[in-house]
């Protein structure tokens, strides 16, 4: 029931008094009105803009947010108002819906934003009033189409091949998307070149060349250099046949491929040659054979694979089929009418060229399209009058459907341009998004870095710990908990690939860098190495600005590991290698991420430990200066 009608309910109930004298039975008891509060004004605060309305107004639609008890969730006791953190501009329209019973769609708003607001307030979009419904539907359809296009562009066939694809699939992909591989590109250009050559040859062979010795008449080049042209034609046809057969082989659905337009064009382009081979040199049949050669010109349509504009044109014509049909039909009607009239008007005159109605068709067409060859001209006055009417109406009839076709073409062309632009920009967009995402992951790794390196007691923790919002703190804590749960640590892409690399290359200290830290019991070194590797990863991350030479990665790695493991401990001497490392491994801060690793003993084959601490500070200097200043101090003190 419409909203406003609810206000007339008291009147309807009062009018029921009119039935009472005629009632056969006694009337039922009226419902007890518990909530007989007098109507009150509610305050609704939407992002600072304060709206006021009667409670009754909102109660009109009890199945929406504002009409039901759901709004109590947004009630602010202190300010005695309902607070919504949404767009106040949109809320205006929502509230007007309650007031007037009609929902309007504001044309300057984004359709998705409007939909979201409606969804939030629990209003079904179907009740938009008739005045705005069409606009809403159009915009929504347009938006959906655009989204569909975008997702299509995203899943563009530029995506890398699935790993397990047969050679057939790869071949098909090469044909459809030439820019995916160099071979396909080469083939694409070669076929394009041969199409051009074939078409040019077809054209040139009809040009008259100088006649050979002993002949007076000019000869077309085709006959003079017959052999040369024949060889060229053979070569082209061979290439086209080969291409067609390859495509047929690679096509995922052969039947569908054979029915497609391009395939038909291919067949039509090469058929005449084969027919010509098969056909005998018979005078009667060669006439038909000559006609067949006309079909060779269809090779030019093969260019549509190479040109997008041509494809758009073809698609436009297909989509404007109804307009073209209308144009054709109206033209035919007009031609018949005017031809008949002209024929009868010119019937009497001597030597009239209008010999029959079909003959007059030619005159009508030439006049309506304003060509006016002048080979057929009316001589009588009536003929001239009707002729002028014919030419005037021709202009009109042709001009009518043309704008429709033009606008269709323009729309499709722009859509295509847009799709191409989107695809080009997509890569840049994705790269930027990835970088932004990296920022957050980096922040977490940074946080771990700071926690691990920083001495809880020293002042430097203050330096290390940057200003982080409460949200970030909690988020990082959450990620930390996840690490503890799964017994794995977060790293970034770069270090992960490095880990894989170092795994394969092998460590100098011949420790297996298996990342499964659960097997620490048997292989103590495994426990240490992943941690160290990750440590290195975290370090590397922190030093994103410093370019660590990859060449000497191994040596530097080991040194790094040693130095950092040494550096991070707060006490004990450098000389006590085993104990150092043991202490290092057992450091609670450090093993934050890896709980169940039993403290691995010192890595005995640790000859690579630098004997002199001299290079260490140097190396340390390469790394992040801030975190290491205190460590350098410690080392020197040791």
């Amino acid at each position: 029931m419409a909203a406003g009608v609810a206000t007339w309910l008291p009147f309807a109930r009062a009018a029921a008094v009119g039935w009472l004298p005629l009632a056969k039975k006694t009337m039922p008891k009226p419902p007890v009105d518990n909530s007989s509060r007098s109507d009150e004004i509610l305050y609704v605060n939407v992002s600072g803009v304060r709206f006021q309305t009667w409670k009754n107004t909102l109660d009109r639609y009890p199945d929406t947010l504002l009409g039901s008890s759901e709004k109590e969730f947004f009630y602010n006791e202190d300010t005695q108002e309902y607070f919504f953190d949404r767009d106040p501009e949109m809320f205006r329209h929502i509230l007007n819906f309650y007031r007037t019973g009609k929902l309007h769609y504001p044309r300057h708003e984004c359709i998705q934003a409007f939909d979201e607001e409606l969804a939030f307030y629990g209003i079904v979009p179907e009740i938009i009033g008739d005045c705005c419904m069409e606009e809403y539907r159009d915009r929504k359809k347009e938006n959906q189409e655009r989204l569909a296009e975008d997702t299509e562009a995203n899943e563009a066939t530029d995506a890398p091949l699935p790993p397990h694809s047969t050679s057939r699939e790869r071949l098909w992909r090469a044909f459809e998307n030439p820019h995916t591989s160099t071979m396909a590109l080469v083939f694409y250009y070669v076929t394009g070149f041969f199409i051009a050559v074939s078409v040019i040859a077809n054209v040139v062979e009809t040009v008259p060349c100088r006649p050979p010795k002993g002949r007076v008449k000019d000869l077309p080049c085709g006959e003079k250099y017959q052999l040369a042209f024949f060889c060229m034609d053979t070569a082209c046809v061979l290439i086209f046949t080969f291409e067609y057969l390859m495509r047929l082989f690679a096509a995922p659905s052969r039947c569908k491929f054979m029915r497609s337009v391009m395939s038909v064009i291919d067949v039509v382009a090469i058929m005449p040659y084969y027919i010509g081979l098969v056909m005998p040199e018979n005078e009667d049949v060669s006439g038909a054979f000559v006609t067949l050669r006309v079909f060779r010109v269809f090779r030019i349509f093969k260019f549509s694979r190479h040109s997008q504009g041509l494809r758009i044109l073809g698609y436009t014509l297909k989509s404007c089929a109804s307009e073209l049909g209308f144009l054709l039909f109206s033209l035919t009607m007009a031609i018949i009418i005017f031809a008949t009239v002209m024929f009868y008007a010119e019937k009497g005159t001597k030597g009239s060229t209008f010999t029959s109605i079909p003959a007059s068709f030619w005159y009508t067409i030439v006049t309506m399209t304003t060509l006016g060859y002048g080979d057929m001209v009316p001589n009588t006055i009536a003929g001239k009058i009707f002729g002028s009417i014919c030419s005037l109406s021709g202009v009109l009839v042709i001009a009518l459907p043309v704008p429709v076709i033009v606008s269709n073409f323009s729309r499709i062309y722009h859509q295509n341009q847009r799709a191409d632009k989107m695809r080009a920009q997509q890569k840049v967009r994705l790269a930027r998004i990835r970088m932004a995402k990296k920022g957050t992951t980096n922040a977490f790794l940074q946080y771990k870095e700071d926690r691990a390196l920083g001495d809880p007691d020293s002042d430097n923790t203050a330096l290390c710990v940057k200003n982080r919002s409460a949200f970030e703190h909690q988020h990082h804590h959450l990620l930390h908990c996840l690490e503890k749960t799964t017994n794995h640590e977060f790293t970034d892409e770069m270090t992960y690939s490095e880990l894989c690399m170092t795994e394969s290359v092998g460590f100098r200290t011949s420790r297996s860098t298996s990342l499964s830290s659960q097997q620490g019991v048997q292989n103590n070194s495994t426990g240490c190495c992943p941690r160290r590797a990750r440590r290195r990863a975290a370090m590397r991350l922190a030093n994103s600005t410093v370019s660590v030479s990859r060449g000497s990665v191994q040596e530097l790695d080991t040194l790094h590991i040693k130095t950092t493991s040494i550096a991070s401990q707060n006490r004990s001497s450098l000389n006590a290698q085993a104990s150092d490392l043991k202490l290092n491994c057992g450091e609670p801060d450090f093993t934050a991420a890896i709980i169940s690793i039993p403290t691995p003993p010192a890595n005995s084959p640790d000859e690579s430990l630098p004997s002199s601490p001299a290079p260490i500070p140097g190396i340390l200097r390469n790394t992040r200066a801030r975190a290491f200043t205190h460590e350098t101090v410690k080392i020197s003190s040791l």
Partner: protein, 215 residues
């Protein structure tokens, strides 16, 4: 020449009334009726100021122009009875509300009628009902009028009823009640007969109190 000019001018003259009519139509749709002051209405009816405010707000919301015409009235009333056809009964109701027979109900008419129906005395209510039944306003209810009213009420029920509605149900209904009301058997029911017969019926008296707390 003069004749040509004359006929041309005549044509233009004829054209002008139609344009005037168009202007009139335009004016009518723009007409906005404002009710008398709140104090006056409060004095005339049995409603308090607050109740009048609530009533007016609802009224103005539905009819911003300040008047209800019969079509709108029928539309509104039909919305309460979606099963059947309430237009006939709404037509009678409209005539009962529109006491001045202007063709449209203003807010004063609306409120006056409501005041009688909800806050009026038994006498006033019964008199209003009598006016409702007396379609041709001649002071008497004859059997045809009552049959019309009863049929209109049955129309509101619609087709799907239990038990199934027979075609002569309104007639039977009327027969039963007319006999009760027409005391002197003269074929018509006067106002006094009507009030008397209603006052004798306990059920009617009791049910008249039912709708008092509607607002």
């Amino acid at each position: 020449m003069g004749a040509v000019v004359g006929t041309l001018t005549m044509q233009t003259k004829q054209r002008r009334p139609s344009t005037d009519k168009a202007d009139d139509d335009l004016e009518m749709t723009m007409v906005c009726h404002r009710p008398e002051g709140l104090d006056q209405l409060e004095a005339q009816t049995n409603f308090s100021k607050r109740e009048l405010q609530v009533l007016y707000r609802g009224f103005k919301n539905e009819c911003p122009s300040g008047v209800v015409n019969e079509d709108t009235f029928k539309q509104i009333y039909s919305q309460f009875f979606p099963h059947g056809d309430a237009s006939t009964y709404a037509h009678y109701l409209f005539n009962a509300f529109d006491s001045a027979h202007t063709g449209s109900i203003k807010f004063e008419d609306f409120v006056t009628a409501l005041s009688i129906l909800l806050r009026g005395s038994v006498q006033e209510k019964l008199q209003w009902t009598f006016n409702l039944y007396d379609i041709n306003r001649d002071g008497y209810i004859n059997k045809e009028e009552m049959t019309d009213i009863v049929r209109a009420i049955y129309d509101m029920m619609g087709k799907y009823t239990y038990p199934v509605l027979k075609t002569d149900a309104p007639k039977q209904h009327v027969d039963a009640f007319f006999q009760k009301m027409d005391k002197n058997r003269d074929g018509v029911v006067t106002l006094d007969e009507f009030i008397l017969s209603c006052q004798e019926d306990e059920n009617i008296m009791r049910s008249l109190q039912l709708f008092e707390n509607v607002i």
